[in-house]
């Protein structure tokens, strides 16, 4: 066993991290395709308020974050109906509420170090209870996606046609936004509230560059998410850095790598066709 895995806290971090790496991009792909990239940030700021409230009230912060972000998710859905043509307005309203609330709740308490670990992620502080909650919630989220992905796929492509062919659009939209809230609460322990939405979006961005089908897009997103988490946790361990930062920067690194490989292979094929067109002459 590599040295890094002999520490039980690292084992816990890897188990939780791998679960997070599976769910974040799986949810993220639908967020990106539906152009909802801001929603992750919004709900995670509300989750921060939830964490602060949990610490003040002596409730396990993952639970209070879950409650806060689910309520916020439903709020976004409701406001979206009120501001039909200004979808981003509903997001901005909830975002402002979340930050305002978080600021007040944090300044009321005095647990700044603990708040920090939720903001930027932590590996040393992941308890067995955290791991258990992360694993159970992640499995619920994964199974939900497996059951819903065809409907979500169709809604992302063409909402009207989806509804006509029997996809329960309204119900699925609500469930989807709750899944986003759940994912944030699950992922924040490892990646940190500030970076959860990056882990939802960046691996998908890399995957979209190369995917030749929806299935492939999903597959690559998850692979890139897993790689980011494994590399990020390892870096975090050896360099003693906050895991949220190392994970997300690994994801960005993978994205840059994809760009470079793509650029190279494009110039190679261009050269080839250039040469072969010369041969013909």
């Amino acid at each position: 066993m590599p040295e890094i895995l002999t520490y039980s806290f690292m084992q816990r971090a890897f188990i939780a991290g791998i679960m997070v790496a599976l769910i974040c991009p799986s949810i993220g792909i639908f967020i990106v395709l539906r152009r909802l990239s801001m929603i992750g940030d919004t709900l995670s700021h509300v989750a921060l308020a939830g964490v602060a409230a949990g610490m003040l009230g002596g409730v396990y912060p993952v639970y209070s974050a879950l409650v806060f972000s689910v309520v916020a998710a439903l709020g976004v859905e409701q406001l979206r109906k009120t501001y039909k043509d200004y979808a981003e307005l509903s997001i901005a309203i909830v975002l402002s509420t979340g930050i305002g609330l978080a600021t007040i709740l944090i300044s009321m308490g005095n647990a700044n170090a603990a708040i920090f670990s939720y903001l930027f992620g932590s590996i040393a502080l992941v308890s067995s209870k955290d791991v258990l909650v992360v694993v159970i919630l992640s499995i619920i989220i994964l199974v939900s996606i497996l059951l819903l992905y065809r409907g979500l796929f169709y809604i992302s492509f063409d909402e009207e046609a989806a509804s006509l062919s029997g996809v329960p659009v309204k119900w699925m939209n609500i469930y989807f936004i709750i899944l986003i809230a759940g994912t944030i609460s699950v992922a924040m322990r490892i990646v940190g509230i500030l970076l959860v939405s990056s882990l939802m979006v960046v691996p998908v961005a890399a995957s979209l560059q190369i995917a030749k089908s929806f299935k492939a897009a999903w597959f690559y997103s998850v692979i890139f998410g897993l790689l980011s988490v494994i590399i990020g946790l390892t870096l975090s361990f050896y360099a003693d850095l906050a895991p949220g930062g190392t994970i997300v920067l690994s994801a960005v690194g993978i994205l840059v790598g994809v760009f470079i490989v793509q650029g190279l292979s494009r110039s190679i094929t261009n050269n080839r066709s250039y040469e072969s067109s010369w041969e013909k002459i």
Binding site: L33, F153, F157, E160, A161, L164, S165
Partner: protein
């Protein structure tokens, strides 16, 4: 003749301005009906009302003899919307995945594509002549090809009626001809009732058997053979307008 679509005295407004008032429309089985009318005359709105995507403030709509509230056989209705081409061209989905999406109700709980679904996909791609493009990304096809994919997507659920909102926008003459030949196949050979919006009055009256004109918040149906262009313009624009004749 069997009635398959019926709108009785429907009135509809988006906010306060009425766009349809007391309008009626009947479509018979086997019809190929064109819908024409000026921009903003409520052609798309009419189709959305018939499909239950919008609810009329007044009036009743029947599909295949059932009022919309009780209508359940949505698989037998196809719809190709006006903005279907407005999708994001980098959407990572293959032709096969897009066409399969319409099998939603037929796939089991886990929504796996089974052998019988694959056969169905091949069959409809063959009808629209796009078999070779099955694995291609939808965004990498031309507008006319994409449109044939959307027709295939509709066909996969064995529709009896297909609604199309301006399917010919941005399609060149050759593809237009191809499109009408395909429509004839669907209409005559497969017995599918077709309802389509178009701005090309000359062509649509040649190809369809009946034409519904939408204008002045009303719907008037004509037999395509006796359709009179000048009368149409009077009926939907009013008498005030002068016809501008132009020669090329």
């Amino acid at each position: 003749m069997k009635t398959v679509v019926e709108a009785k005295n429907i009135s509809f407004k988006y906010d306060v301005v009425p766009v349809l008032e007391d309008a009626n429309l009947t479509v018979y089985e086997g019809d190929f009906m064109g819908i024409v009318g000026p921009n903003g005359s409520a052609k798309s709105t009419l189709i959305k009302l018939l499909l239950g995507l919008l609810k009329p403030q007044q009036g009743e709509i029947y599909l295949m003899d059932k009022s919309l509230q009780n209508f359940k056989e949505w698989h037998s209705i196809g719809y190709i919307s006006q903005k279907v081409k407005g999708f994001n061209n980098s959407f990572p989905a293959t032709v096969e995945e897009i066409v399969a999406a319409n099998l939603y109700k037929e796939m089991g709980v886990f929504k796996f594509i089974r052998a019988k679904h694959r056969e169905k996909i091949d069959e409809v791609l063959d009808i629209v002549g796009m078999t070779d493009y099955k694995k291609r990304l939808i965004g990498s096809l031309s507008g006319g090809q994409q449109q044939r994919i959307f027709i295939a997507r509709t066909l996969i659920s064995n529709p009896q009626i297909i609604f199309m909102d301006e399917p010919l926008v941005g399609v060149d003459l050759e593809s237009e001809e191809r499109f009408y030949r395909l429509m004839e196949k669907l209409n005559k050979d497969l017995g599918i009732t077709l309802i389509m919006v178009s701005h090309d009055i000359g062509v649509i009256t040649e190809r369809t058997n009946r034409v519904a004109c939408v204008g002045k918040r009303q719907v008037f149906v004509h037999d395509s053979k006796t359709f009179n262009n000048e009368e149409y313009i009077k009926s939907v624009y009013g008498d005030k307008i002068k016809l501008l004749h132009h020669r090329h």
